[in-house]
């Protein structure tokens, strides 16, 4: 996947030219100071924002709008409040013209995978934050995208639920017949190091990829957080972001 020469934003140029490849089945995190344009970059890849200049290529093809080949997980989950869990998860399949039977069979498979059994007919407002997140994840996965674009999907969860959800996400991701490629936007370096194979570090104004770091740790990572090198890797990435983050903070205070 390439992403090049895109400049967006009405008043501020949010992004500079950005170019990176993601290997198939790779879990890549995108971290950076707030306002660096990481969410914008994700929205461009999703086809929800058109870059003012440049083009976005996915597998050599230009992205011209949103499409089911790129599944998106939103920070606020964006579940349809009027649809049950089952209907939410089968919506993408409905959009793509599958029959009701096929839709429900496939949706049930993913309800199993995210462990929402028994909640099929519940509405989103009846679910906890973690369950909503799993429902949103199942909705995207049921659509069988080539890449998952996740925009701070755990930012709205409390710390404990987040930790559990991180393990859930890794389990769901590694369980499938083929691992999905994931591009994961987060402001949490810890989350990036814990989850991903590779970490892209962005700088701000304009957003550029400043560093491309391969994760040191083997999977599974249950013990990783207590590993002595863990803190070091986080420190190293924080070192890259720190100045920009401080800058962003003072800019906000002005």
């Amino acid at each position: 996947m390439e992403y090049k020469n895109a400049r967006t934003g009405e008043k501020v140029r949010a992004l500079g030219p950005v170019n990176f490849d993601i290997g198939e089945g790779q879990f890549v995190s995108l971290v950076g100071p707030s306002g660096c344009g990481k969410s914008t970059l994700l929205a461009i890849l999703a086809g929800l924002i058109t870059p003012t200049e440049g083009s976005v290529l996915l597998d050599g093809l230009e992205i011209k709008g949103p499409g089911p080949d790129r599944g998106v997980c939103f920070q606020d989950y964006a579940l349809f409040p009027w649809m049950s869990v089952l209907q939410n998860i089968s919506f993408g399949l409905k959009a793509r013209g599958f029959s009701l039977k096929e839709r429900e069979d496939r949706a049930k498979e993913f309800i199993d995978r995210v462990q929402l059994n028994g909640f099929e007919s519940r509405y989103p407002h009846e679910l906890s934050g973690g369950m909503r997140q799993r429902c949103a994840l199942a909705r995207v996965l049921a659509n069988d995208p080539e890449i998952l674009l996740m925009d701070e999907p755990m930012a709205a969860l409390d710390a404990q639920t987040r930790q559990i959800m991180q393990d859930d996400l890794l389990r769901i991701w590694s369980e499938g017949s083929t691992r999905k490629t994931i591009l994961y936007v987060t402001h949490s370096i810890d989350e990036a190091v814990y989850l991903s194979d590779r970490i892209l570090v962005m700088s701000s104004r304009p957003g550029l990829i400043k560093a491309d770091i391969n994760n040191l740790f083997e999977r599974p990572r249950h013990e990783t957080r207590s590993h002595p090198d863990y803190a070091e890797q986080i420190e190293q990435i924080w070192g890259l972001i720190k100045n920009d983050a401080l800058q962003a903070m003072t800019n906000q205070e002005k």
């Binding site: 999703a46 599944g71 009027w82 993408g92 959009a95 989103p124 659509n143």
Partner: protein, 232 residues
């Protein structure tokens, strides 16, 4: 004194008896059926038109520029202001009444539906787009369900003004036709005012209007609960 105090200031028992008398004579049931039928007709026409035009205005910019100013110009013109034209165009019967009701119902349904459509969460539309939904499916499965609470609110308000309008229309149309022909609760009330001065019967009419409006609103709330199990 030709008029007894019982006529000008009806007693509660007089009104109660009035109910019995008018039901037995068949006059009240017939008038109710007539008015309710007109309300249903006028409401259906207006509701369909209003929801369709709100979708058009809310989702398609050229329609916003063309239709919105037009609708806003007509909105301040009260339904009863149309009665002279309605009588000339449609006569003094059911069609004129339906026209007046439709006109009255249109605006609250249109405005509420439009505000519902405009309040649709962009994030949900985007989510549907990334899942591969066509614009048509987005309208059907995202925009309309999302606007449904506003549409139902508009329908309830529309029903209220529809009732107000039909009684006014029937009373006026009744005065024109000289009684008899066109019917409805409003005309029944008008006839009792001009021909027999039976105020008890007029009060029977007023109470009937209130009670039926209440029953219809209860029905709407039931429908609301049924259609919107996902709210609260």
């Amino acid at each position: 004194m030709a008029v007894s105090t019982g006529t000008i200031f009806p007693t509660p028992t007089g009104v109660l008896n009035g109910f019995g008398e008018l039901i037995l004579s068949g006059e009240l049931p017939k008038s109710i059926l007539e008015s309710v039928g007109r309300i249903c007709g006028g409401f259906s026409i207006a509701f369909t038109l209003a929801v369709c035009s709100a979708l058009l205005v809310g989702l398609w910019h050229p329609a916003e520029y063309l239709l919105d100013p037009l609708i806003e110009t007509f909105r301040p013109i009260a339904p009863i202001a149309w009665i002279p034209l309605a009588i000339l165009w449609f006569g003094t019967g059911t069609y004129a009444a339906i026209f007046i009701v439709s006109y009255a119902v249109f605006f609250p349904v249109f405005l509420n539906t439009l505000s519902g459509i405009r309040a649709v969460d962009k994030g949900l539309v985007n989510a549907a787009r990334t899942l591969g939904a066509s614009p048509l499916l987005i309208i059907k499965d995202v925009i309309i369900p999302s606007a449904l609470p506003s549409i139902i609110l508009g329908a309830r308000l529309g029903m209220g003004v529809g009732w107000a309008a039909i009684i006014a229309a029937e009373m006026t149309v009744g005065s024109k036709s000289g009684g008899g022909a066109s019917g409805g609760i409003g005309q029944m009330m008008f006839i009792f005012l001009t021909y027999s001065l039976e105020l008890r019967y007029i009060i029977v009419g007023m109470i009937t209007v209130g009670v039926i409006a209440l029953l219809i609103d209860i029905l709407f709330r039931r429908i609301e609960k049924m259609l919107l199990p996902w709210t609260d």
